[in-house]
């Protein structure tokens, strides 16, 4: 078996031997030591190598949380000492994690109790604020590599909504069961029937039970139907609401006049089925958040410096002219002017450019850049919510309003359906009023009852709901399952390059120059190890030398390079000018030049690393749709991309976030249905603009830009299959619409002629619903299997 880290289980090229075990990095050793010192070795007994590898969080990063007003806004409960907070911890992934977080009180006595909600990746922690400050609690979690996040408002809301639906469903089921039982004696033949007096009692109890089923469980159908009528839209809710009212009034009328037994069992059953459909479709991924806005990426507070006193203020309070300090690894929250002498800013978040950008004094820096190296002083130019990035988020053309809440097909169908039903029922009523007045009302309501499009309304939730689950199992997570219909209409697919087609964590590293020996490589690796610059990290990971030497006099020139003395040799890594080498002609790909004492052995070319199978995936989606590639990066990769993409016109480089958004908007203007795939904040505008915006994430539980769906990077290669599958799902919806129409035609032919027998109606209504549910679920499942999903 290959050697893996005892803590996190990841393979590694360099090993840290500690306590008779192998670890991949110092970070893992640190967590191991913390746990060991607190007698918490059980962590490693519950699951194999349960740890998380990450070593970036620093304690001061959370300082802003100790500001009184910020603290009060994020804590769920706080009485001066006792505090309670719910934190979103995406790193929770196994039973060991649950154990560790629920035993936090052993790591720090300030923690009183903690409990984990695994589905939501959430920890509810009660702690004593006087012993353990909120910032310290956050830092404590970060120190054991469970990086906590403050929950966003949207995350809090979705929970309450799903609970209400479950309760409604429970009430509807309860009423359905009881009404079924109470109407049972009605179906008995005359020789064993109960005393009619008792049956009358049962009927009245049923009426009383049906009222809450309609008004509480089924209230949304009335509300949406009414809203839509006022807005002049005909939706599927309208015939449903009409049907429910018709069934109920007709049943009450029959019971009062003692002319029949009513359809209350069917009524309550239909409401129950409809709610099951709603609940099935509404199944959301609680642990994922699709609606992150820019504030999810920004710190809540920032250090402001006025008259030499420092204070931490919420970023919303920043005013133009304020001087702020942003430390290493923090994100600049507002568009600002640089006051410090020079800085390296990592814009990978915004532009997708993997290499940090050098900024000089007095230059304007856009919000969203991450500071690398020394802390910077900045003068705020714009308020946070009017900054470049925030504007991008807000901007959304009117046409961009997505009608994804309800299925488009269903809307079109139900529009004609509703009109047809209204016309048929009126004509029937008029006909009978003319010929046989006594039958007019009965025939009129019979049409409304039998035409209640419950089967129709169930087809979409079950087909798309089930398809959405199958996609979720394959790591494409849809915000709304009705998005499947949008997927089928996509004819243009726009990819971001960096982070989407390429893997941001890996690089292809090539050395050009004299042959180097193992020793030289060790020197380079040792120096690269000292720096957190992405290129250094790529180099460090690429070099296979075993020995790491100690580095003396280490110095890093921001954005230029690093130097140090290793084994009495002076080693420099960095740009051509920094090391004093001749620049190569082709400047497009990132280069790291090497200087050892006075020798210049050559340089490393560091290229993007494409995700496995990307060529097949692109070629495959290109068969049905146009492929475009937008990149914030330089055009070094033109050759590789133009081999795959049909038209060179469709590949654009040096695209700013705004350019990307405009590009998608232009495509839409030409009548295209656009799917955008992107990974970073730089794609946010484009993701929102596109009809289908899919965020690509290496870890779906980490924050990703707001989007309609999140796809795990590993599943990207299955994109053609997902599109194909959604097309199959739509066909199944069409088929089930035809089936429910057939039921309606049969039922209506009886209703219109005034021959609808109560028993026939009572059987037909649930039968049509159940058969549509079974048909859609089974065929979607088979369609998924056939595509190996």
């Amino acid at each position: 078996m290959a050697k893996t880290c005892y803590h996190c289980g990841s393979p590694s090229q360099s090993w840290v031997r500690h306590d008779d075990r192998d670890f991949c990095c110092e970070g893992c050793v640190m967590v191991y030591d913390i746990l060991k010192a607190n007698d918490m070795g059980t962590y490693y007994d519950i699951a194999q190598a349960p740890g998380i590898r990450d070593n970036k969080a620093s304690a001061e990063y959370y300082d802003y949380l100790d500001q009184e007003d910020i603290k009060r806004s994020v804590l769920d409960f706080y009485d001066g000492s006792l505090a309670r907070i719910k934190l979103y911890i995406p790193a929770i992934h196994c039973s060991s994690c649950i154990w560790l977080i629920e035993n936090l009180h052993r790591l720090h006595k300030g923690v009183i109790a903690s409990s984990v909600n695994f589905n939501r990746r959430e920890a509810a922690i009660t702690f004593n604020e006087t012993e353990l400050k909120l910032s310290e609690l956050m830092a404590l979690l970060a120190s054991i590599n469970y990086k906590p996040h403050i929950k966003t408002e949207a995350q809090k809301k979705s929970v309450a909504r799903s609970k209400r639906l479950v309760i409604k469903l429970g009430v509807a089921g309860f009423i359905f069961g009881n009404v079924m039982l109470l109407s049972f004696p009605d179906y008995l033949s005359a020789d064993i029937a109960l005393n009619p007096g008792i049956i009358a009692w049962f009927k009245w109890i049923s009426v009383m039970l049906s009222v809450p089923s309609m008004l509480y469980s089924g209230n949304e159908y009335f509300i949406t139907a009414w809203k839509n009528i006022r807005r002049g839209i005909v939706s599927i809710d309208m015939p449903i609401a009409l049907g429910i009212i018709a069934i109920f009034t007709r049943s009450v009328f029959e019971i009062i006049t003692n002319s029949g037994s009513g359809y209350l069992d069917s009524l309550t059953g239909l409401i129950f089925f409809l709610l099951i459909g709603k609940w099935y479709q509404a199944k959301t991924y609680e642990a994922l958040s699709f609606d992150n806005d820019y504030s999810a990426y920004f710190p809540l507070g920032i250090t402001r410096i006025d008259d030499k006193s420092e204070s931490i203020v919420p970023i919303a309070d920043l005013e133009p002219g304020d001087v702020i300090q942003v430390r290493n690894g923090e994100i600049i929250p507002a568009d600002a002017r640089l006051l410090s002498s020079g800085a390296a800013i990592d814009y990978s978040f915004i532009t997708g450019e993997s290499v940090p950008v050098r900024k000089e004094k007095e230059e304007l820096i856009y919000a969203g850049g991450r500071v690398i190296g020394n802390a910077l002083m900045l003068a705020v130019e714009k308020k946070v919510e009017t900054g470049y990035l925030a504007e991008l988020w807000k901007e959304r053309s009117e046409a961009g309003e997505k009608e994804s809440m309800i299925s488009h097909t269903l809307n079109v169908v139900s529009k004609y359906f509703t009109l047809a039903i209204l016309i048929i029922s009126t004509l029937t009523g008029l006909y009978w009023a003319w010929h046989d007045g006594s039958k007019a009302v009965l025939a009129f309501t019979a049409v409304l009852i039998i035409a209640c499009p419950c089967a129709l309304a169930l087809s979409v939730p079950f087909a798309f709901g089930h398809a959405g689950r199958i996609m979720g199992k394959n790591h494409l997570y849809l915000k709304l399952s009705s998005l499947i219909e949008q997927l089928t209409r996509v004819d243009t697919i726009v990819f971001d390059k960096t982070g989407t087609l390429t893997d941001p964590e890996h690089f292809d590293v090539l050395f050009e120059g004299d042959k180097t020996d193992r020793y030289t490589r060790s020197l380079i690796k040792s120096l690269a190890h000292q720096s957190r610059h992405p290129l250094s990290r790529a180099l460090y990971r690429h070099l296979e030398a075993d020995d790491i030497f100690e580095v003396f006099d280490f110095a890093e020139a921001e954005g230029d390079g690093v130097e140090g003395h290793i084994m009495n040799r002076h080693v420099k890594l960095g740009s051509a000018t920094y090391v004093g080498a001749a620049e190569a002609d082709d400047k497009r790909s990132a280069r790291v030049y090497v200087r050892i004492d006075d020798e210049l052995p050559g340089y490393y070319t560091i290229k993007n690393y494409y995700r496995p199978d990307w060529q097949n995936m692109l070629a495959s989606v290109q068969q049905h749709s146009d492929v475009h590639i937008l990149s914030g990066d330089n055009d070094a990769e033109m050759m590789a991309l133009s081999e795959i993409v049909r038209s060179r016109e469709n590949i654009r480089f040096f695209q700013s976030p705004k350019d990307k958004q405009d590009y998608v908007a232009a495509l839409k203007k030409n009548g295209r249905v656009v799917m955008m795939l992107g990974d970073g904040l730089n794609d946010v505008g484009a993701l929102k603009e596109a009809q289908v915006g899919i965020a690509v994430a290496d870890d779906v539980h980490q924050f990703s830009p707001s989007s309609d769906a999140i796809i795990s990077a590993d599943a990207l290669k299955d994109l053609p299959r997902f599109i194909n599958f959604s097309k199959a799902a739509l066909k199944i919806v069409y088929a089930s619409i035809v089936i429910s129409f057939l039921y309606n035609v049969v039922g209506l032919s009886f209703a219109v002629t005034g021959h609808l027998s109560p028993l026939f109606a009572a059987v037909l209504m649930p039968l049509s619903s159940v058969s549509v549910v079974v048909f859609t679920s089974v065929s979607v499942m088979l369609a998924g299997r056939r595509r190996r999903l």
Partner: protein
């Protein structure tokens, strides 16, 4: 025969109690997490066990040596 009506009303009341319990269970969050409770029940309580049980096992020898 009226006894049947009484029985139906009584059984409905019992059923209503269960419905109430269901609503309470949903609202108090018992359906929120279907994974953690199944694992949690298997965890040993630290204070009920001897401390040594929870040590990281196979380096107990190293520990003793360093102490010595």
């Amino acid at each position: 025969m009226e006894i049947i009506i009484l029985l139906v009303v009584a059984s409905l009341c019992v059923a209503l109690i269960f419905l109430g319990l269901f609503v309470w269970a949903v609202k108090s969050g018992q359906y929120d997490d279907d994974y953690a409770p199944s694992v949690r029940i298997l965890f040993d309580r630290q204070d009920e066990k001897k401390k040594t049980d929870n040590k990281i096992h196979n380096n107990s020898k190293v520990d003793e040596q360093t102490k010595a």
